[in-house]
Structure formats: structure tokens, C-alpha cells
């Protein structure tokens, strides 16, 4: 196979990766995007077997070892990916990222060993970069995996003088890296690898559980850059393009994730250098809730077959009746089945919701009484609770003695997903906590109902 053809196939695979990322950034095309990516990767892998670099001959040397190793990889990777539970996916991604980083580091080391003194300075620099970043990614990812899998504490691990140790490690990594470049040699490189692995561990330990996904994303981007660097050393356009793509898109993605989660990227990453031990003495644990963005809500709605809107006093306070109707109309135009579930005492006046919704011209036949709608929640994909609280509070059924005990409620908890639009964690009229807010299937969208709905409408339109 000619070099030209080989390069062309590599370029084609690179194009496939671009299309894959493009596809993955839109819900409608995400699956197809992933398949295109897989196709590109398969193509790129297959073609190496048919291309013999100048000087060597087909079939590849060590073909048995190569095929055996691939087989082992498949035997480990596929079942792991297949069997993992939905909730454990993030740690698996972390692990996969880590092994990728490890592979890149190993490739760099082997190539370095082979080239020996022939290596140009540029090649050595890229090799050093690959080894450092690959190792950091490997060990860091392992730690994030352990945190997410709860094999270790999810809270920031901070030890006395930790930040000095981390800083010292980083300095030595850089120092040894310089040593490798100037002196060459296998030993310094292995020392470098070891130190990098240590730095990876130290770097991730002080990161708190909530920030871990951001760190994974960052390590992912870095791994991409190591692949690009390997591409330089191995003279492969494909690796350069693929690695750079991942590096660039991963960087953007890391920033987007940090923004979406309301975290400071800087704080997350350099927390390790600034964290002080006393930070450990946290206040009483706050119960976690799942809060989402308008985009998340829009996507849930977009892929629902049936949505029930549950309005309450907050809808009236926000005067969001027109916007809620707009949302309902939009969903209906997408073929989603939409109904309003009206609790008899929602609001602060009998018929409060009717007054509001009639003002927004919501057709009367879309309004369903509590007794009509309650049996339908089990066939409902999303119940979206807009400024209501007491009327969906399960305490009315299971907490004898609480002020609303005995009041019939809307059984939104029977829906597959529950979305709450409210401004805060404050309770409603009756002043009692709503357990449903902490339910794993609940997503909270904080903010004034009108503002939130407006954003959801835009996001849904954009899908």
C-alpha cells in the first residue's frame, strides 16, 4: 500500500472524526456522529495492517502479539462498556480516558527507546510532553475513577503542606523533563514517567466530587494533545488531526461544563495549590439536589411523548401564564402530548389557575382535574411543576400530622421525570419541606418561572 493512499485514508479518518464531533454536539445527530467516529477509528486501524512503512515489509512484525493485544483490549473494553450501569458511566469514561493517556505515554516511550540517539530535539520534546501528560492523565483518571466509584472518599483529600508537595512534584517533573531533553537516556525518561504518575495522583486528590467531571474533561483534552504529539513523532497526519481535535474540543467542553455547573475552572484546577487543610472542617452536610439548565429541561421535553404541566402559585407570581402556553404550544407542534394538571387548591384563590390560563387563552380542554390526571402520570414522561409545591408534596400522604396531611395531591412522582421550576429551596404556603425535590428523578430549574420558561422555550426551539 502506498504511503499516499495510507495518508489519504488517515485524512479520511480525520474527517470522520470531525463529523463525529459535529454530530455529537446535537441531540438529533449524536448517535450517528458516534457511529461515524467509530467507523473512522476502525478504518484507521485496519489500514495500518496493510501499510508497511518504507523499509519494513508486510505482514507487520509481531503481528501475533498485535492481534492478541487487540483481542485482549476488546475482551476487556466491550463487556465493561456494555454492562456498566447508567449511573456508573462517568467513572468508566474516566477510566477509558486514563488508559488512553497511558497508551499514549507507552507509545512515546517505545518510540523513544527505538529512536535512541537518532531522535531530533523536536521529537524528544514531543516525547517528553507525551510521557508527562499521558502519565498524569493515566494516574489522575484512576483517582477520579476511584472517587466516582466511591472506592475512596469523594470529598477533597487535603493533607498538611499538600500544596507544597504538589508544587514540588510539579517542579521536579519539569526539571526531569528538561534533563531528558538535554541528556537523553532511558532512565531519566522512566523517572519522568514515575514522577508524572505521582503528580497526576496529587493533582486530582484535592478535587471535590462535584468538580471531578470537569477534571476528567480536562484530562481528556490533554490526552488528545498527547496523541497529536505522538502524531508528530510518528509522522501521522491522522494522529495530529485527531489529537488536536480532541484537544481543542475538549478544552472548550471543559470550559462549557464548568460554566454549566457554575464552577470556576481556575478554582477547580488550581484548588490543589491553594486548598488549605482547614477547608476540611465543612459545615453540616447539605442534601444534594439535581439542578439542571434550561437546555437540559428542553432536551427532556423534546424527547418526551407525554408531558403534564402542573402550575401553582409561583406561576401566578411570575405572571408566566403566557410563556407557559407558548411552551405548551411549542411542544404540541412537536407532536408531544401535553396536558395541564390543575390541583383544586393550586394558587391562593379557588380557580386561580383557571383565571391565569384563560388569560393566556389556554383551551379549556387541555386543563385536567386532579382526579382525571392522576391515573395518567404513570404514562407520563415528564411532569413539569411550575411554581407549585404543596399540591405535589408527598408529605400530604405519608407524614401524618403535617399541616397538609390528608389533602389529595397530584401524583407527579409517578411520572418518569419530574422538573420543578422554582426560585429556591424554600417551601410553599404550608411551610413544609418537599421530599420530592430530593428525589433522584427530579430535576430543579432555579429562577423566576417566567425567566426560566422563556429560556426553556428558546432552548426547545433550537433543538
Amino acid at each position: 500500500m502506498s504511503r499516499t493512499l495510507y495518508d489519504l485514508v488517515g485524512l479520511a479518518a480525520g474527517v470522520a472524526f470531525i463529523l463525529a464531533l459535529k454530530g455529537l454536539s446535537h441531540p438529533k445527530t449524536a448517535r450517528r456522529g458516534n457511529l461515524i467516529g467509530a467507523f473512522g477509528a476502525t478504518l484507521a486501524t485496519l489500514v495500518v495492517f496493510f501499510y508497511a512503512a518504507p523499509g519494513s515489509s508486510l505482514p507487520l512484525n509481531n503481528l501475533g502479539w498485535i492481534l492478541g493485544a487487540i483481542f485482549v483490549g476488546l475482551a476487556v473494553g466491550i463487556p465493561a462498556a456494555r454492562k456498566v450501569q447508567m449511573t456508573q458511566m462517568p467513572q468508566l469514561v474516566a477510566l477509558f480516558n486514563g488508559v488512553g493517556g497511558g497508551a499514549a505515554a507507552l507509545v512515546a516511550i517505545v518510540e523513544y527507546l527505538r529512536l535512541g540517539d537518532e531522535a531530533t530535539t523536536a521529537e524528544v520534546i514531543f516525547t517528553v510532553f507525551t510521557v508527562i501528560v499521558g502519565c498524569v492523565s493515566f494516574s489522575g483518571s484512576i483517582i477520579t475513577f476511584m472517587k466516582l466509584q466511591e472506592l475512596m472518599t469523594t470529598r477533597p483529600v487535603i493533607f498538611p503542606a499538600g500544596r507544597f508537595i504538589i508544587a514540588a512534584t510539579l517542579v521536579s517533573v519539569i526539571g526531569v523533563g528538561g534533563w531528558v531533553v538535554s541528556a537523553l537516556g532511558t532512565t531519566p525518561l522512566l523517572v519522568l514517567a514515575g514522577l508524572s504518575l505521582l503528580f497526576g495522583v496529587l493533582f486530582v486528590l484535592p478535587v471535590g466530587g462535584a468538580d471531578v467531571p470537569i477534571v476528567i474533561s480536562l484530562l481528556n483534552a490533554f490526552t488528545g494533545l498527547t496523541v497529536a504529539a505522538s502524531g508528530y513523532v510518528l509522522d501521522s497526519v491522522l494522529l495530529i488531526i485527531a489529537g488536536t481535535l480532541v484537544g481543542a474540543s475538549g478544552t472548550i467542553l471543559t470550559r462549557l461544563m464548568a460554566e454549566a455547573m457554575g464552577r470556576s475552572l481556575f478554582g477547580t484546577l488550581f484548588g490543589a495549590f491553594t486548598a488549605k487543610p482547614q477547608a476540611e472542617s465543612d459545615s453540616a452536610e447539605v442534601r444534594p439536589v439535581r439542578s439542571g439548565s434550561p437546555d437540559d429541561v428542553a432536551i427532556l421535553l423534546n424527547y418526551a411523548r407525554r408531558v403534564v404541566i402542573v402550575p401553582g402559585f409561583g406561576l401566578a407570581v411570575a405572571q408566566a401564564q403566557h410563556t407557559v402556553r407558548e411552551l405548551a404550544d411549542l411542544m404540541m407542534s412537536k407532536g408531544i402530548d401535553v396536558a395541564y394538571g390543575i390541583h383544586p387548591v393550586a394558587g391562593r384563590m379557588p380557580g386561580h389557575m383557571n383565571v391565569l390560563l384563560a388569560e393566556a387563552n389556554v383551551p379549556y380542554d387541555q386543563l385536567e382535574e386532579m382526579d382525571e390526571i392522576n391515573p395518567t402520570f404513570s404514562q407520563t414522561d415528564v411532569a413539569i411543576v411550575i411554581g407549585a409545591n404543596d399540591v405535589v408534596n408527598p408529605a400530604a400522604e405519608n407524614t401524618p400530622g403535617c399541616p397538609i396531611y390528608g389533602m389529595p395531591i397530584l401524583h407527579v412522582a409517578n411520572a418518569a421525570n419530574v422538573i420543578f421550576l422554582k426560585r429556591s429551596m424554600r417551601p410553599g404556603f404550608a411551610g413544609i419541606e418537599n421530599e420530592l425535590l430530593y428525589d433522584p428523578k427530579t430535576m430543579l430549574l432555579f429562577g423566576d418561572a417566567k425567566a426560566s420558561l422563556t429560556k426553556v422555550v428558546s432552548a426547545l426551539k433550537a433543538l
Partner: protein, 93 residues
């Protein structure tokens, strides 16, 4: 390849990378990260090349380890991404 060519490719690929993901919605953050992660599994290609080049046992051993890791990264990555995206499947209409 000439350095300027590599640099140009790098710069342009950075732009492409930035552009294609710059407006992704947050629900797709995780699948996108996972897909990108699978893509860097093509280091497998590099691992195979170095395995082919390997002359010592040390080299071969390390290269074989690299192949195993890279394969896990690539194949597992695409499979797990696909699973994550299952929610976007069942859309009628």
C-alpha cells in the same frame, strides 16, 4: 512533513475543534466528552506502528500493553457513548 505544514494543520484543527462543539447543550456534555475520549483511542494506530517497529522485548512488551490500553479506550469509548445516547433514540414522528 514540514513544520509549517504541521503547524498549519494543528492550527486549523484547533479551529475546527472549537467550532464544532462550541454550541453544544449541557445534556450532551458527557456523551460528547466520552465520544472525544473514544476518538483519542486512535493512538491505537500509533501503538500498532511502534509494535511493528519494536526490536527489543522491552519495546514489544510496552507496545503490546499500549495496544491493549488503546483498544480498551477506543472500543469501550464508542460503545459506552452509544449507550449514553440511547435516550435520544426513541423519538417518534
Amino acid at each position: 512533513m514540514e513544520p509549517i505544514a504541521i503547524l498549519s494543520i494543528f492550527v486549523l484543527a484547533v479551529f475546527v475543534g472549537f467550532e464544532v462543539v462550541s454550541k453544544v447543550s449541557s445534556t450532551l456534555h458527557t456523551p460528547l466528552m466520552s465520544g472525544a475520549n473514544a476518538i483519542h483511542g486512535v493512538i491505537l494506530v500509533g501503538a500498532i506502528i511502534v509494535a511493528d517497529h519494536s526490536s527489543t522485548n522491552l519495546e514489544l512488551g510496552l507496545a503490546v500493553a499500549a495496544i491493549v490500553l488503546a483498544t480498551i479506550n477506543m472500543v469501550g469509548g464508542f460503545v459506552v457513548t452509544d449507550r449514553m445516547l440511547e435516550m435520544f433514540k426513541g423519538k417518534k414522528k
